[in-house]
Subunit: 361 residues, 2 copies
């Protein structure tokens, strides 16, 4: 598979993990899951190294995040960081990556992966990726369908149809976030999967699909090809991105194109969507506390303590008689909230914006 390239989507604002996540340090740069201090982005790269060498792993990120992303991934070639000059949702980002890699390798097959998810069974994950890659090489636009483990209303779903190949299926349709009743049906059918935002395709196939369904984007990508041929892409990139439609790959392409395949997988996946979700994934003591050993816990259960301070010695955290709390410390902020209210971090963000405290965002 010497034509296989990975494109890891590493943009994002990451407000759900404030105060750890900031504009300059979004979620994928944080060690939010697993036993080590490995950032989610670094874990994403490490997971695919057995099937894709580092020379062919590309990071699509925002211009302001290139330095931090390179620091998190020192083993990757510096030129493999694709800096988007403007955030324009996933269709322009993936289209530009496809165009860029097709110039380098006309037979390029891409796997596009989020940078900020968690996978427990990494072997099983790679097996699912390789099934999707095979479908992509056979001409499909493929995706991974994650076997649902609960009636989640926060994710999109994929409904599979006929079997195309061993453990690869035709896609009947993409389904937006369902209500609870439908989500409960989906869990039971065995034909519905969570859409984990992973896409697999020949670069040329994706660019044809963009030609057919997103002509304005296609025009900009041809323009960038022409400028790149003259060595001038960097000079025009920002203006071109500014003209691109801001649309997701799901809406812009996946829901419209035919010959879509889904490779189901069941590998212990999480999108690490909140502090509560991070707590679920982190190692915990006998009383369910995800804390560091230096912390002092008296009659405390189910808590998460995260310390993202830059100081050499982290402060000792003492929790007495508290339960199911999230406590997050950085140099300039401290957050305390119950795990079950983890989603309400966004209210803090809104309040800080209203007060003009953008220094804290």
């Amino acid at each position: 598979m010497s034509n296989l390239y990975a494109v890891i989507l590493a943009g994002g604002a990451g407000t759900r993990f404030w105060p750890a996540s900031r504009t300059h340090r979004p979620k994928q740069l944080l060690p939010l899951a697993g036993a080590s201090d490995e950032a989610l982005l670094a874990a994403t790269v490490r997971r695919i190294l057995p099937i894709c060498p580092k020379e062919r792993i590309f990071i699509a990120t925002g211009r302001h995040l290139v330095d931090a992303s390179r620091q998190a991934l020192p083993e990757l070639p510096a030129e493999n960081f694709l800096a988007e000059p403007l955030a324009r949702n996933t269709a322009p980002c993936i289209g530009w990556a496809a165009a860029t890699l097709r110039r380098r390798d006309p037979d390029a097959t891409l796997m596009v992966l989020p940078s900020d998810h968690f996978v427990r069974d990494e072997e099983g994950f790679r097996r699912a990726l390789l099934r999707a890659v095979s479908a992509a090489e056979a001409g499909f636009i493929a995706t991974i369908g994650i076997a649902p483990t609960r009636a989640e209303t926060g994710y999109g779903y994929i409904e599979r149809g006929e079997r195309l190949d061993e453990e690869v299926y035709d896609v009947v349709r993409f389904i937006e976030k369902p209500d609870r009743a439908r989500a409960e049906q989906y869990v039971a059918t065995g034909k519905h999967f969570w859409n984990g935002g992973m896409f697999f395709f020949r670069a040329s196939r994706m660019l044809e699909a963009i030609d057919a369904h997103l002509p304005a984007l296609a025009g900009e990508l041809r323009h960038l090809d022409e400028e790149a041929a003259r060595g001038n892409e960097a000079a025009v990139l920002e203006a071109s991105f500014a003209r691109m439609p801001s649309i997701s790959i799901d809406h812009g392409v996946m829901e419209k194109v035919d010959r879509i395949a889904v490779a189901p997988g069941d590998f212990g996946w999480s999108d690490v969507g909140s502090w509560h979700s991070a707590w679920e994934l982190l190692p915990k003591d006998a009383k369910g506390n995800a804390v560091s050993e230096a912390d002092v816990l008296i009659d405390a259960e189910g808590n998460l303590v995260a310390d993202l301070g830059s100081q050499g010695a982290k402060p000792v955290v003492a929790l007495v008689g508290v339960r199911d709390l999230v406590v997050v410390r950085t140099d300039d902020a401290l957050l305390v909230l119950p795990r079950e209210r983890a989603q309400d971090v966004r209210q803090v963000i809104e309040e800080l914006k209203a007060r003009g405290r953008t220094d804290l965002l």
Copy 2:
């Protein structure tokens, strides 16, 4: 009253306010009550200035606390800080202060006051002090009896007898911390008062009482007088303190001596005994949060946030959906516990000792 001297007892380990209070920064050096950033010790001095000039206010403290105490009280003469070389409970401390001040002024009358209490009605407080001072000048050892406002089992009580003078009474007995049933009786009698640890006496009268009831201490104080006459007190002080019995003035003198008076007072007093008590005394927002204005509160009630960090800019604290919590931050520690469990800070201290983390104590 040019013979009136104040001796403020400012030793103490102050573990109940960890992590704000430390060996080198005990409770009286913290701004734990009132609207300003004034430390309890500074408030104690300010309260008595209208009745005792600063030249006659003395601070009895531990050797390791002299520098910090002087910093907190820059207006006091440097020589007014009496550095105890060893902690030997209150009888040696008060005896030594009485001996020291009698050398300076044979007619000295002392008022001995704790350094770490809170008083709401400062005028009323000073009126009570002056009544006790009058009794002291008349030859009594006097104390203040605080009108009890609840059946507190954590304090000692004083039972008054016959009236001696206007609002000054004979003392029938000192009572150790009572059980709840007796405490409830005491609140109802009108004859029982909280013992606030304030003592008023002519220096010569206290030294006679020590002669009578604590002969070992009396011997050391005579020895110190003799050495002081030769300009040699500093050289022998530590060895002398080491030989003194470690006993409280209550047990050693007050419970044994006759001609004791009590001046009742009702001036909004608190011993600021815990983080919960500090929360009661601090200014609060409409939802009962004692926090700073920069903090962000979403659906949070009854919380106390204390920031004792040394950094220039204090971190913003965001509380979401939490109630009745105490959150205390320093540079090297963070404490989170429910207000109602404020007494359990001592369990943290014990755990830190067990782990050898004396750097945090």
